[in-house]
Amino acid sequence: MLYWLQRNLPKIVISPSFAVIIWFVYGFVLWTFYVSFTKSKMLPRYEFWGIDQHFRLWSNPRWFNAVENLLIFTILFVLVCLLIGIILSILLDQKIRTEGFLRTIYLYPMALSFIVTGTAWKWILNPTMGLEKLLNDWGFTEFTFDWLVNRDMSIYTIVIAAVWQSSGFVMALFLAGLRSIDDEIVKAAKIDGASLYSIYLTIILPMMRPVFMSSIVILLHISIKSYDLVVALTAGGPGISSDMPAVFMTQMAFHRSEIGLASASAVMMFLTVLAIIVPYLYSELRRQDANS
């Protein structure tokens, strides 16, 4: 008995956490999947209803609008973050003395919550008293900036704040990647007469494929889940012009008593993340196996 206990102690120790994960992650996801196939409104109902909720979701113009916004946001967010992150990491990699200090400045927004970031940027982008007034005072009297209250532009304000918050992170990832590259390669290329510019473009950046991969996956992951920033900055408005799937989901779940529809939208978000994460984890784990 004692021997059995001793032998199985590791399994016994891990089982409470494991049970918690199985129940609260996998069980809950399955629940959400199932409820998306029911007629649930304010309260969950468990009779199977078929895929009508999913039809309702995809014929809902508000959901379409949210998905469209997510696409615009994701493309811009990922591209601009990568661009800024890569430029900063390369510049910081030029052996400068103040590197640590500058890095601290570039990365501190990551320590703030999206609500704090959103609150600050909401004030900065304030259509009359914010950036507009600043530039007017500085002599650009024609300058107007009303993106926060402009239906066509509100989604871009979220991009601005999100890039400010997350681009330093991409910088940190790329800087770590650059540091792991052998100096000899750069030296050899320099002796061959290659310019620094072409060394980075043709030799170093292609070597950073894994860093590109993980940065993109993380940025995609952040953007699909983006909720707090939208709530704090625009609350999805004006109207629904800056709505996003995560906002749509909580609206349907907690304010519109549309549990079935909310679950259907959550399922869509889940599947999107799955489609990104599973191939990534698979290739990461294979790479690790190959290395060890």
Binding site: F18, F24, L88, I105, L107, A111, S113, I115, W123, G168
Partner: protein, 301 residues
Amino acid sequence: MQTLDFQKMENIERSSARKRIFYRWLLFIILGIFALYYLAPLYVMIITSLKTMEEIRQGNLMTLPREIIFDSWITAWSGRGGIDAGNVFLRPFFWNSLKMVVPAVAISTFFGALNGYALTKWRFKGDNIIFLLFLFGCFIPYQAILLPMSRTLGFLGISNSISGLVLVHTVYGLSFTTLFFRNYYISIPDEMIKAARIDGAGFFKIFFKVLIPISAPIAVVTVIWQFTNIWNDFLFGSSFSFGEAAPIQVALNNMVLTSTSVKEYNVDMAAAFIAGIPTLLVYILAGKYFIRGLTAGSVKG
């Protein structure tokens, strides 16, 4: 001829040196502009919070306050007293967040360490699959568990309470803490454990006497990661609590949204800054570990 060549070479050298200095300056100017870009919002937040509304209306984002007034900080922190009853202020919610963060971080970190230990030093059949199942928990969009979670909290009788939020954050932090400790312990040589086992030490003795004493670096990373995430959380806070049990981020958002008579941007900025202080402090004091957590939590596995 000889002298002329020297002259020429010297010229080339001097111009390339000049070029190098030019590029050096250009580098610093670009890096400096980016630094200003990242710092500007913080600067605007702070100076706005120190101005009166009168001054805010007259000046612009960048104008410095004529005199430094902490009134908005006091209003943001402890309200205006009895003047208008409906106003939200941060003090009680700050404590809510603290009461939520401390147990959630402690419990999830402890179990993460235990799991990481069991998964790496006592390999058993299926341990890799168990780890993968944990790992996937880091990535799920929480929208997919929001509804069943809110029903579960209701069922347990802890919806809209700090204990409910502690439970939620502990549960969904487990994946991350297990991942951190697992990846740390896997690099600890097995010989250490074997030697302790020969000496007759059992599972828990090895954990507490051998591994815990060398776990400080990863424990700091994990605690900072969990603290930052839980302190900054809004989704769980806003979905599972309201009114008095809300954490600080929810209170901040409510404060900014509730527009009693006039919008007070100075109070909003002071409140946002107060809500950001704990995580900013952690970042400034332990930036190295913060970054390590970010990269470890992202370049997963």
